[in-house]
């Protein structure tokens, strides 16, 4: 960035009055659907992924209800298969992958780095439309008869045998992939080229580091998935057999290519959440993040390692045992940067002045759940144990601790923390605390029993099971009910707060970071003057909370 940048005044499109913000800049449908404003696009994403979350959640509740009894009495085999597939496809591709990057990242990255918008605002809008088109394909599949392959689309079942709408679902996932690629591309260019003067790489908020690492995975991993699922669709339509052993093809090749994206995709979900947690821990313990450089670089390390571990999904698939050995060791290595983060967060908390606002409850919840999810990941990286628990509920519990316990807790924590900035209103703290605690409790009740029942040998993806597993399954379903109710709370009180919430000051938490220096909600141009950064990040205690 050139030094003249300092002298460039911003020309607002029209004279901005003090009350003007991005929400009041036009009220027509067109002003939303054709907006180039990253903040409005974030809201578009927020609404769409919330809808997908509800769809995925409904499918999950049917799955859990079916599993109350050992017999298959609520859903037929076929319907059950379709339900867990819809749950997986929708939650992975249409909620978790876009959740923090496309909503919080879109809203916050330009604000945090002192930019007026992302580098390519039109591409940003395009990515939302691409997302919606991909989502519509998937919705059509879900409504017209579903798909029963599991979210992993394993061949040759998906490409040759399944009697469901695999090709259309594959097209949906293919299209949505490009939305993810465009978002990642936008973030990478924005973070590289548009930081405010003085905002060096090691002064960036850790959230931005998390987004950067995520974007790297998005642009390098997603295209591989795209060509792989495209070939599944082609193979299904033309019967060419690249992945079908009966035609000389290779189903293991599909698994390699699929997990080359889909394991890194797990880090697409967790890295932004880790970025959120770094912000929350620092703001609510009022201390600079301990080991800032280590946390920042561990995000990049996780992104790099993420591309070298996919083979641990193939330990029992007929992959060479020597490859398995190497993938096992590499998978253990991921624990190192993950532990660096966890230890540094803990060190930040040590002897700090912690306040227990809702975002902090989510942050603490994240740390506990991520710890369990991460450590059970080590079990699964060990070949011997993995062979025992492959395709059991142990695996299901493990990845839900990471994806729900990690990514969703981070997302909700971030939503509460930045809600005053996004909406200009405070949410009701009491309700929020209740729902945060309920989510934590409900989550553990849902998924902890699954570790046990999985270790005992209950396989995943069946709608009947041996009667001795019933008690734990009933516990799990009970937990899921609590979780379902608790997830509904934020929807209601966030909407409620839009009208009745207290007006939020610019910086309700007394937090550092450029995003708290602009009014809540921010004006359309973000910054009237390009800010100049002269300090290291997280200089707490810096500001007294403006709370009323």
């Amino acid at each position: 960035m050139s030094s003249e940048a300092l002298t460039y005044p911003i020309e607002p499109a029209k004279a901005a009055s003090p009350g003007d913000n991005y929400l009041t800049n036009g009220f027509s449908l067109k002003s939303w659907l054709l907006t180039h404003d990253h903040k409005r696009i974030a809201i578009l994403y927020l609404i769409s992924i919330s809808v997908f979350f509800v769809i995925g959640g409904l499918a999950a509740s049917l799955v859990r209800l079916e599993l109350i009894t050992p017999e298959g009495d609520l859903l037929a085999h076929e319907t059950y298969n379709k339900m867990f597939t819809v749950h997986g496809v929708v939650m992975v591709f249409f909620f978790l992958v876009p959740s923090i990057p496309a909503v919080l990242g879109n809203f916050l990255v330009p604000l945090m780095i002192g930019a007026r918008d992302l580098a390519f605002p039109r591409i940003n809008l395009l990515s939302w439309y691409v997302f919606i088109v991909g989502g519509l394909f998937t919705l059509v599949v879900a409504l017209t008869g579903g798909i029963d392959t599991g979210w992993t689309f394993y061949t040759p079942y998906s490409s040759m045998f399944s009697n469901t709408y695999v090709a259309m679902a594959a097209v949906g996932v293919f299209i949505t992939g490009f939305s993810s690629i465009l978002t990642g591309l936008n973030f990478i260019v924005t973070i590289h080229k548009m930081r405010a003067p003085g905002l060096t790489w090691f002064r960036l908020p850790l959230f931005v580091w998390g987004q950067y690492a995520t974007s790297l995975i998005m642009i390098l991993g997603t295209p591989v998935l795209a060509s792989t699922v495209a070939l599944v669709a082609v193979e299904r339509v033309f019967r060419i057999g690249v992945f079908d052993p009966a035609l000389g093809g290779d189903p293991i090749l599909f698994q390699h290519l699929f997990w080359f994206y889909s394991h890194p995709a797990v880090y697409i979900m967790i890295l932004p959440a880790m970025g959120v947690i770094s912000e929350l821990i620092s703001a609510f313990s009022r201390r600079p993040v301990f080991g800032y450089h280590f946390i920042a670089l561990s995000s990049i390390a996780i992104a790099a390692l993420s591309f070298l571990v996919w083979g641990h999904h193939l330990f029992v698939s007929g992959q060479s045992p020597y490859a398995g050995l190497v993938f096992s060791v590499l998978s253990f290595l991921v624990a190192v940067p993950s532990a660096i983060k966890t230890f540094n967060w803990t060190a930040t908390l040590y002897k700090s002045s912690i306040s227990w606002d809702t975002p902090m409850i989510y942050a603490m919840g994240f740390m506990g759940l991520f710890l369990i999810g991460g450590l059970t990941g080590l079990y699964l990286a060990a070949i011997a144990i993995d062979i025992h628990v492959t395709d059991t509920y142990f695996v299901v519990a493990h990845f839900h601790y990471i994806m729900v316990g990690g990514a969703v807790m981070g997302y909700l924590g971030g939503m509460h923390y930045w809600w005053p900035k996004i909406s200009g209103r405070m949410y009701p703290e009491g309700w929020a605390k209740i729902s945060a605690v309920l989510i934590f409790a409900g989550f553990n009740l849902t998924f902890f029993p699954q570790f046990i029942v999985g270790y005992w040998g209950m396989p995943r993806r069946y709608h009947t099971y041996a009667p001795e597993f019933q008690v734990l399954n009933v516990m799990s379903t009970a937990g899921a009910s609590i979780l379902g109710v608790a997830y509904a709370f934020p929807v209601f009180y966030f909407l409620w707060s839009l009208k009745y919430g207290e007006k939020a000051p610019a910086n309700p938490w007394g937090a550092t970071g450029l995003e708290w220096q602009v009014p809540s909600p921010p004006p359309t141009v973000n910054f009237e003057e390009v800010p100049v950064v002269t300090e290291e990040p997280y200089q707490y205690p810096l500001l007294e909370p403006e709370r009323v």
Binding site: P110, R122, I123, M160, N163, P223, R236, V242, L257, F260
Partner: protein, 289 residues
């Protein structure tokens, strides 16, 4: 891609008072961002094609003989012609970028149109190749066949007896071929009123001999790789066409020509992909034949 180019255009708005889009501080920052964005996008493209190259390598390693035969069934002369066409179009594109940087808009126009013509030339040659394969029924799928003269060449070279598709002919009309649930059937059929999952029947006998299937895989990947590349050529034609249109409206000057440069990067990428595709697909083991 083309929308990225358009994104840069909104910089050069019709108001004419600012030379860059509102989110940027200055034109330099805008140009740098566009360049980094394009390179990042090309990284994505490399991995997009990368998956197909991985599949190609795996099966080439596994089925070397059939890969060799498949390669010989392609017309290396037409491929060679196309290589020259694309390389020449890279030259005209590079000249277009240079003309834009020098502000020579007329020459820019000529170079862009020449590039489009060459791109069409490439597609025409490709169409002839595809059509030839279609006529010989060397199209992966149910009607995949190997022309007899190719089998002769194959047997002369390797001295093996190539199993004729006798089983396919013999079983024509039998249940194996027409079993709609079989892996070679036309596609999934829902069984009426049957709530349970229908398991597909394994075919009693293979319809094709092994070599047929392997050769079919070669052609599946040939069409996938060249087809994906062809789609990129078509997208490129639209992008360059947009440039011609904008150039005639007088958008590009010495100072502002980023879209031309970005499209140039994209076009060179498309060429480079072909430079890898041509030897991998057309030129296997030519020295021995």
């Amino acid at each position: 891609m083309s929308s990225q180019a358009l994104d840069l255009h909104d910089a050069h708005g019709h108001d004419g008072h600012s030379s860059h889009a509102h989110q940027f501080d200055d034109p330099v920052q805008q140009r740098d961002s566009a360049t980094l964005g394009m390179w990042a996008f090309l990284a994505t493209e490399v991995l997009f094609f990368g998956a197909l190259f991985v599949m190609y390598s795996v099966f080439r390693y596994r089925y070397p003989v059939m890969w060799d035969m498949g390669s010989h069934m392609l017309d290396w002369k037409l491929g060679c012609l196309n290589t020259f066409i694309l390389l020449f179009s890279s030259l005209t594109m590079a000249l277009a970028v240079q003309s834009a940087q020098l502000g020579k808009t007329k020459r820019l126009n000529v170079c862009l149109i020449l590039t489009i013509v060459l791109a069409f030339g490439f597609l025409v040659v490709k169409t002839f190749e595809y059509h030839h394969k279609y006529e010989e029924s060397v199209i992966p799928g149910r009607y995949f066949q190997i022309p007899p003269h190719e089998i002769e060449i194959y047997e002369k070279k390797y001295g093996e007896v190539f199993h004729p598709p006798s089983k396919m002919e013999a079983s024509a009309g039998s249940e194996t071929v027409y079993d709609p649930m079989g892996p070679y059937g036309p596609g999934p059929v829902m069984h009426d009123g049957h709530p349970e999952m229908t398991t597909a029947k394994a075919p009693l006998e293979p319809v094709f001999t092994d070599d047929y299937r392997k050769l079919q895989l070669f052609f599946a990947l040939y069409f996938a790789m060249t087809g994906l590349h062809g789609i990129h050529v078509i997208i490129g034609i639209f992008m360059i066409g947009t440039l011609v249109y904008l150039n005639q409206k007088g958008w590009f000057t010495k100072e502002y020509n980023t879209p031309v440069e970005m499209t140039g990067l994209y076009w060179h990428f498309v060429d480079i992909v072909w430079v890898f595709l041509y030897p991998l697909l057309y030129l296997m083991d030519r020295a021995h034949s």
